[in-house]
């Protein structure tokens, strides 16, 4: 299923999700003020599936998101509100600090130019 880009570079599904999850990040107290270097280390677990260049090849790209969005989405998985067992398992053992670190790292990355 092709994810259409929105104005801020998020897949359409993710944008809908941001609205849905916006209050959740606040409710769980997770704040996006992460340690980018720690996030880069933790990201090695994510990039086994998610392409760092931002291309969609069956698994959604996760770079360049606003940090609050990233935190909200991960909290959704952690609370098993969002239904993917791979992500639920991975998010389930991440602390608030670790999620914030990942948000800082992935949020700092820009998509590679599309292939010519």
């Amino acid at each position: 299923m092709a994810a259409k880009s929105s104005g801020i570079g998020l897949p359409a599904r993710a944008c809908l999700f941001v609205i849905f999850a916006a209050g959740l990040a606040h409710a769980t107290g997770a704040r996006a003020a992460g340690d980018r270097a720690y996030g880069e280390y933790l990201s090695s677990e994510c990039v086994t599936c998610h392409l760092l260049g931002g291309r969609f090849a069956g698994i959604p790209p996760i770079i360049g998101w606003p940090e609050e969005t990233f935190v909200a989405v991960m909290n959704e998985y952690r609370l098993k509100v969002r239904p993917n067992p791979v992500m639920q398992t991975l998010a389930g053992r991440l602390s608030d600090e670790e999620i914030a670190a990942l948000a800082a790292y992935f949020g700092s990355l820009a998509a590679e130019p599309a292939a010519k």
């Binding site: 280390y41 990039v47 998610h50 698994i59 398992t89």
Partner: protein, 422 residues
């Protein structure tokens, strides 16, 4: 292949390099050698080189100039992928990360001198060594089977000519054919792999309109990975075509006769049109000869770092190691390699290290748009890599979810191969 030959060390060049870099001399850079360019080895090489920003000299010893992945080779068998799409070059590891590529096989390890001897007789010195040798096949675990017999009865458990041979044999079958698979005993590479392969073979027969062909799976195990899911899928998509037998059903696998194309059990002798024999497995020979394996044939490791239990300067990742609760899979190897890379960087460059964490997911395609998965997260506990939480697809899932899982499977392949090979 478009490898810049200057980036490859020839045998003579490797020798000169090792000769200049005697352990007794002060080193400009610590040296890491990685043996094996599969998912574990290539990942370890890349992450050590990338994250040390050139502070560590990384050499990858791998005789093949390009690598065909075992994962998704079943999809090649089923016609869902072409050969090129599962074959990858090492070019970017050299050009983007400065990894030295040595296109030679490792022949031996001198652990006391910290030297790797190559098949061409030259030596290379290391400060830390990563072993990612994958598996060797125990051909003699099935009476009558041998490496020579695999020309007739392919195992196809290492992606390459064996896989292409099996595909050729499969595509040549006429209706009414009998396929016999001899499945391997635990532990082995890719637990769901034999059964995904059965699914892909059934897919090919069904797509060709076969009504009378059969696939008999003779298993030395009492259960199989994702058993309920596979058996549900076989009944749904290929009714009457697949017959899986555990030891209670066949009474024991007595042996094969490649010249007669027969597979004999305690109860019956099957005359096969295609026999796929997947024997028992063990860690690669160089690791075993170096004393890194225990009596099981596999290499014990420290679960917090992937360091060999037998040598503080050597790390073992991927199929060759004893991975605790993790399966032997490319995903596991990739995950383990990142832990080893972090530990090695920490030792050699005093960079930050973090607690080890491991992940695995295995996707299996049963029929077009019908994919299932199993996976988990893991961490060091009680002396092994222990499962923290696991998940598996459920029987009776909606077709749309199974289709999404297949999309995820293809996405994972794109992701992990980009992660491994740059």
């Amino acid at each position: 292949m478009t490898i810049d030959r200057r980036q490859w060390l020839t045998g003579a060049g490797a020798f000169a390099f090792a000769g200049l870099a005697k352990p007794a001399l002060a080193q400009a850079k610590p040296r890491v050698i990685v043996i094996g360019g599969g998912p574990g080895g290539a990942t370890a090489a890349k992450y050590i080189a990338k994250d040390s920003n050139g502070a560590i000299e990384v050499t990858l010893v791998e005789p093949q100039r390009q690598f065909t992945t075992c994962f998704h080779s079943n999809l090649f068998l089923g016609g869902f992928r072409d050969w090129n799409s599962i074959t990858h070059s090492y070019d970017k590891l050299a050009s983007s990360y400065g990894i030295r590529l040595v296109p030679e096989a490792a022949a031996a390890i001198d652990r006391d001198k910290k030297i790797v001897r190559l098949a061409n007789g030259s030596d290379m010195a290391y400060d830390r060594l990563v072993i990612a040798l994958g598996i060797d096949l125990r051909f003699d675990s099935v009476p009558g089977y041998s490496e020579a017999a695999s020309d007739t009865m392919p195992h196809a458990w290492k992606a390459g000519p064996q896989t292409q041979l099996l595909k050729k044999q499969l595509d040549a079958l006429s209706d009414g054919a009998l396929i016999v698979m001899v499945a391997p005993p635990n532990p082995y590479r890719c637990p769901p792999g034999p059964y995904e392969r059965v699914s892909m073979m059934a897919h090919v027969l069904k797509a060709k309109g076969h009504r009378n062909s059969k696939i008999v799976v003779l298993d030395p195990k009492d259960t199989l990975s994702k058993q309920g899911l596979f058996q549900e899928g076989w009944e749904k998509h290929y009714p009457g075509m697949v017959e899986w037998q555990d030891p209670k059903m066949h009474g024991g696998i007595k042996g094969v006769d490649p010249s007669a194309m027969t597979v004999k059990t305690d109860l019956e002798t099957y005359k096969a049109n295609l026999a796929n024999v997947i024997p028992a497995q063990m860690a690669g020979k160089v690791a075993r000869d170096a004393g890194l394996a225990n009596q099981t044939g596999w290499c014990p490791i420290d679960p917090a770092s992937m360091r060999s239990a037998n040598d503080p300067n050597i790390y073992v990742v991927g199929d060759a190691c004893i991975p605790g609760d993790m399966p032997k899979s490319a995903f596991s190897a990739n995950s383990q390699a990142k832990v080893a890379a972090m530990a090695i960087r920490g030792e050699l460059s005093a960079s930050r290290t973090f607690p080890a964490r491991y992940t695995n997911t295995c996707w299996s395609l049963i029929e077009t748009g019908d994919t299932v998965k199993v996976g988990g997260s893991y961490e060091p506990k009680d002396g092994k890599i222990a499962a923290v939480s696991t998940f598996v697809s459920q029987k009776g899932e909606a077709p749309e979810l199974r289709r999404q899982t297949q999309e995820e499977n293809m996405g994972w392949y794109a992701g992990i191969t980009a992660d491994i090979f740059g």
